[in-house]
Amino acid sequence: MREAHRVARVVAGVMVALVVATMPAAATIPRVPAGRAPMVVEVSPDGPVRSIREALASVARGGTIVVHAGTYRDTTIVVAFPVTIAGAGDAILDGEGKRQIMTVTSDSVTVRGLHFENVGVAFTEDLAAIKVVRASFCTIRDNRIDNAFFGIYLQEASECVLEHNELRATRTRDATSGNGIHLWHSREITIVGNRVSGHRDGIYFEFTREAHVRDNVSTDNLRYGLHFMYSDSCDYQRNTFRHNGAGVAVMYSKHVQMTDNRFEGNRGSSAYGLLLKEIADSHLQRNVFSNNTTGLVADGATRLLADHNQFVNNGWALKLQASTEDALFTGNDFAGNTFDVATNSRSNTSTFAGNYWSAYDGYDLDHDGTGDVPHRPVRLASIVVAQNEPALILLRSNFLLLLDAAERVIPALTPETLADSTPAMRWVQ
């Protein structure tokens, strides 16, 4: 019975794909004229070809459309065969706040150097500046996208490259704001050197596999700088996520690699540098978490390996929930945080070794660079605050310091096993 369902679903899917793939070509693209179609078609506001739609009707398969400076207002452009569309000068494609600007339904389409603006906002449809639907090998490079609802939207795409695009939106409400770079059910997408700001989520993945996200800057987005769910085996390198409403959230994924990223200045009562929720077998290395309300939240981060990260000047450097099992934190620097580690449980299965703690007050008599007494990073104050939030206002008061000193002598509330038995005396990094 289930097999039959699956077959039916696949058949239906293929049929829909066929219909969608052929329909726009038949319906909206005029027939390519007989004879040899030109390889290059120039579009300019006062030339013989005045819109990309006209150019698409005449250009050869695999040809190039050069769009010269000017503002173009047209209905949604559907690109249904392999072609390169390149801007020369400031070629503005204006959606006039009403519609999607470009839909790519063919493999091997390149869109570069264009300036998209004013994508329409809809509540039932994800309108985007560029939407790629069921296509492979697309390249979207050096575009500027202003005031979009969704920016670049990949739906069931694969092996595409999104490079050096600049996306800027200025919306103020979650509901009327879309994601900058949005990937759904896609695979092997390379996202390099893009700058996204002012969107709902800067970069959003759902059901995406093997994406490579490098050197992007995602700042001042309303919700998350980066948000992904059910996206296994992706890697993130050298990205910067700054001043986002809630930081970065990664959920329900496996084999995530995050290296050399920066998580900065995400402040607010529910903001964090990075939230790991139900993330298994992942690796955090050499990332910097600074000036966040909470640097890293590990909620169900099973077998997480975090090494050589820096946690500097955060409210809470690390919130380790009881649901996190067998995590290993080693060679990290914890400096200048109000609380280094907070946890909601007295039991602990995670291991801390060889980290630097600026709050460490032990000594190193044999001068081997490792402290001689273990460091317990969970402060009594963090437990008091967790149970009674307004008590935050008593931070650093002499009374709390006294309680903390008493707790250190005989731990009664803080988890006894959560300790770094080989704390580094100096910064590891």
Partner: protein, 262 residues
């Protein structure tokens, strides 16, 4: 006005010659330099200094203040034999006590930072630390003057000084925490803020918290705290509360001084 200046000048000279005051400055110099030297990190040193300042400055100000004024009793009586304005004289006494203490504190804490050439990124928080210390000095010397004027018996006066210090440094916050724990199911943000404004040490502490733990303070879910800390309103309210904390003891002390029969 003239009397204030004259008394102030004499008092300040006298106080600056006091070994205790020099020891106080030296102590701060030593502890600051030590922290800078051993932590190797100006930020970390400043964080440790927050606790030291909040603990020690009120204690020294109130104890040194009361003792000093008791010792100056003969000088006061001598002056009162002359035709001087008592109001101005009290002002001179208070300032003559406060300024040298504040100076000793500022030099003691600031000099090591200057000498070690701490860079500009830390000057803001150093300024906050110095300002908080000076404000606490002003408040606690005012309380000290009040106690010295009101209490004839110096032993009882000293006891009262230490009692006030204990109350404001430790006991008060304990009581607040107790209240928070007992009424944890009620919205207590406004009440807590009010309670904090009623204790000068807490005001100074919160001002420093905003500097050093801003990220954590933004983590509080209650809108009241966020709004309060998020803009100038919090700073203005705290400043007014501190000024009141200086004004009230000085005014009360002056009233007692005017009526006092030496």
């Amino acid at each position: 006005m003239n009397t204030i200046l004259k008394v102030l000048k004499y008092q300040a000279k006298d106080a600056l010659r006091s070994r205790w005051l020099i020891a106080y400055a030296l102590f701060f110099m030593l502890i600051t330099d030590g922290l800078l030297r051993f932590s190797g990190d100006p930020m970390k040193a400043q964080l440790s200094l927050v606790s030291v300042v909040l603990f020690l400055v009120p204690l020294v100000s109130i104890v040194f203040g009361t003792v000093y004024l008791y010792n100056a009793r003969e000088f006061i009586e001598l002056l009162l034999a002359q035709p001087v304005n008592r109001r101005q004289m009290y002002g001179g006494l208070y300032l003559g006590l406060t300024l040298p203490l504040a100076l000793a504190f500022t030099v003691g804490l600031g000099l090591p930072f200057v000498l070690r050439g701490a860079d500009a990124t830390f000057s803001g928080s150093l300024g906050a630390l110095l300002l908080a210390g000076v404000a606490l000095t002003c408040v606690f010397t005012a309380i000290a003057s009040l106690i010295a004027v009101r209490c004839e018996d110096r032993l009882r006066g000293l006891g009262a000084a230490i009692g006030v210090w204990m109350l404001l440094t430790v006991v008060y916050d304990g009581v607040v925490l107790f209240i928070l724990a007992v009424f944890s199911n009620r919205p207590l943000e406004h009440a807590t803020l009010g309670l904090m404004m009623a204790n000068p040490i807490d005001i100074a502490r919160i001002a420093l918290l905003l500097r050093f733990d801003g990220a954590a303070m933004m983590g509080y879910t209650g809108a009241v705290f966020l709004r309060f800390f998020g803009n100038a309103q919090g700073v203005i309210v705290s400043a007014i509360a501190l000024v009141l904390w200086v004004y009230a003891p000085v005014a009360l002390g002056m009233r007692a001084f005017l009526r006092k029969d030496f």
